[in-house]
């Protein structure tokens, strides 16, 4: 197995030298050697508990009560609603449920597109640069600059470029190239979705590029040479060597990109403000708008928990798929 997969059934690494023997006696004294791994993970656990796990549990609790402005200063007085908030969120005949469902669909489409395109761009760029020596450094730097800019600055620049009257895009499409008639909108209406995907790809693909490029660095040159002697074309080498060897890296990369993109908040928020156009109404902003802005925290928490459950399912499916691929490989 190539990557450490979390889960009790994944003995990725062989037993360490100090691991307890198979039949540990419960009355054995505390020893430093045995507690070493626990001491090593203790700081990580402490911080994750503090910043993620406990707030997450609080969030789950919030989803079960009717937490509105009347109760935010005294949570214990908030009426317990059980699954009431979930029922509202999942009531697809009401506007909130409908909008949540629509927002979910948009987010899924957005995520698949952004992850797919970012990954495609990253892999393509890595592939064509893999064995180029001249000019690679400057290009690599150029490609990575969007990753180094503060997110807000990059997005606000795009927002500026996408303005209908004064933006670069319409200047190019309408005034210079005469490709479009009338000035299309890019920040409202259906096009807003396209803009959101483009801007997100712009921000994400450098990371995919970085990861894939580094992954390809470690594929030994002699593998290619052997293939070339056997008469394999460049394309065959790409398919049978590079992409195959990259599978473990790609699996991790795609999963992480998916998790991150699905929860994307900064880009839509900076691009459109708290009320995005319908076509670009991503889940996290949607939850923010139905929770923070309208002060209905219980409902927002319920929606967040639903989002988390979905991502857990995705990660679970990924793990199953990954295990099978690795077993077959």
């Amino acid at each position: 197995m190539a990557v450490t997969l979390p889960g009790p059934h994944t003995p990725t690494s062989v037993a360490g030298t100090t691991s307890p023997d198979p039949t540990p006696s419960r009355r054995r004294r505390f020893t430093w050697a045995r507690s070493t791994p626990y001491l090593l993970i203790a700081p990580a656990i402490a911080f994750e508990l503090l910043v993620h796990v406990i707030p997450m549990l609080v969030g789950i609790f919030m989803s079960l009560i009717q937490l509105t402005q009347f109760y935010v200063t005294n949570w214990s007085a908030a009426p317990f609603t059980g699954i009431g908030n979930y029922r509202v969120a999942l009531d697809f005949s009401g506007p909130l449920g409908q909008q949540l469902a629509r927002s979910f669909g948009i987010t899924l489409g957005f995520t698949v597109l952004v992850v797919g395109i970012s990954f495609g761009f990253g892999t393509s760029a890595s592939l064509v640069l893999q064995r180029v020596v001249r000019g690679r450094g400057p290009l690599r730097t150029l490609f990575l600059i969007p990753y180094a800019l503060p997110a807000y600055a990059g997005i606000i620049t795009w927002k500026f470029m996408l303005q209908r009257d004064n933006g670069l895009l319409n200047q190019l499409l309408v005034d210079d190239l005469h490709l479009a008639h009338g000035r299309p909108f890019w920040l409202i209406g259906g096009n807003a979705f396209v803009s959101l995907v483009v801007v997100s790809v712009w921000q994400q693909w450098p990371f995919a590029f970085l990861m894939t490029m580094a992954g390809m660095q470690v594929i030994p040159e002699d593998v290619y040479q052997a293939a070339a002697i056997d008469g394999a074309s460049t394309w065959q080498q790409v398919r049978h060597i590079t992409l195959r060897m990259m599978r473990p890296v790609n699996a991790v990369l795609v999963l992480l990109l998916f998790l991150w993109t699905f929860r994307e908040f900064n880009t839509p928020y900076v691009l459109f403000g708290p009320t995005p156009p319908e076509s670009a109404d991503l889940l996290t902003v949607h939850i923010y708008a139905s929770s923070f802005i309208t002060w209905n925290f219980g409902l927002g928490s319920a929606m967040s928990v639903l989002l988390m459950l979905f991502l857990i399912v995705v990660a679970g499916l990924w793990a199953l798929w990954n295990r099978r691929v690795n077993r077959d490989a």
Partner: protein
């Protein structure tokens, strides 16, 4: 080794559009930063009619940019250092030990990547305030420390995963030999594993740095004017009265220069094996 023509064509088909895709927004940033505000608000000009350096001067007074920059640098560096150190220990345990709860640990750590930030913001705030109340002084509430603690946990999960797979890639014989020679577990980590895995550690550090550097949501809620970071501070160029597009872009360019420079310096280590551990 000869490449086929079609592959060479493909190379250009990939590099030219991607190059333009990356460079056009940067070009817009640069030229807008060199225009007076009136021109920026007016029709788009490919080349500025009136060149000015004013935005690069005014940007320091519209917003306390220098202070935000220092805040960001402190917070981001501290979060990166802490995150990497903690992740190294945890990854070492995951990679080299089999212990009860190992799988749970990895699973829980991954699940933290799935809860939307907007919702645990409020609980986190309450926790910080309660810790401060227990301590009796302001430690986490709207301070840089609070932000560092928050950010380091954002990047821990990915860092632990990456580093663990890295460490897995390092032959166990290496550190086991050292252990037989009487080196402690930590000694083996510091003397054998870390030097071998340096590229991975740097890659994780870069990732942690960038994540903390650009974060907006938590920074806007968990800071005050003394601790405000750059990512949030840049938004202050959009005031109640005006959006100072040219100054935002000038500021973004200036603050990015040190980051890009640092990036360039680190690149050689990074590329040597960002994902080496993950490849068998």
């Amino acid at each position: 080794m000869r490449e086929q023509l079609s592959f060479r064509v493909f190379r250009w088909l990939v590099l030219v559009p991607l190059g333009l895709f990356a460079v056009v927004p940067l070009y817009v940033m640069l030229t807008s930063a060199l225009k007076p505000l009136r021109d920026v608000q007016g029709d788009f000009q490919w080349w500025p009619k009136n060149l000015t350096l004013r935005p690069f001067i005014d940007m320091w007074s519209t917003v306390p940019l220098a202070q935000y920059f220092v805040n960001s640098l402190i917070v981001t560096t501290a979060a990166t250092v802490c995150s990497v150190v903690i992740a190294v220990f945890a990854a070492y345990a995951v990679s080299r030990y089999r212990f009860r709860g190992r799988g749970t640990f990895a699973g829980v750590i991954l699940s933290t990547q799935m809860f939307p930030g907007v919702l645990f913001l409020l609980p986190l705030f309450i926790i910080f305030v309660n810790i401060d109340n227990a301590l009796g002084f302001t430690f986490l509430y709207q301070t840089r420390v609070g932000l560092v603690v928050t950010y380091l946990t954002f990047t821990l999960p990915f860092s632990v995963w990456m580093l663990a797979s890295y460490f897995d890639g390092i032959p166990r014989d290496l550190d086991e030999c050292a252990r037989v020679d009487g080196t402690s577990a930590l000694g083996a980590l510091f003397r054998i594993i870390l030097p071998t895995a340096r590229p991975g550690v740097i890659a994780v550090a870069v990732y942690s740095f960038m994540t903390a550097w650009g974060e907006i949501l938590f920074a806007s809620q968990l800071t005050n004017s003394d601790s405000r970071t750059l990512a949030v501070g840049l938004q202050s160029y959009a005031t109640e009265n005006n959006v100072y597009w040219n100054q935002v872009m000038a500021a973004a360019l200036v603050v990015s220069v040190p980051i890009v420079a640092g990036f360039l310096l680190l690149q050689r280590y990074l590329v040597a094996g960002l994902t080496a551990g993950a490849v068998k």
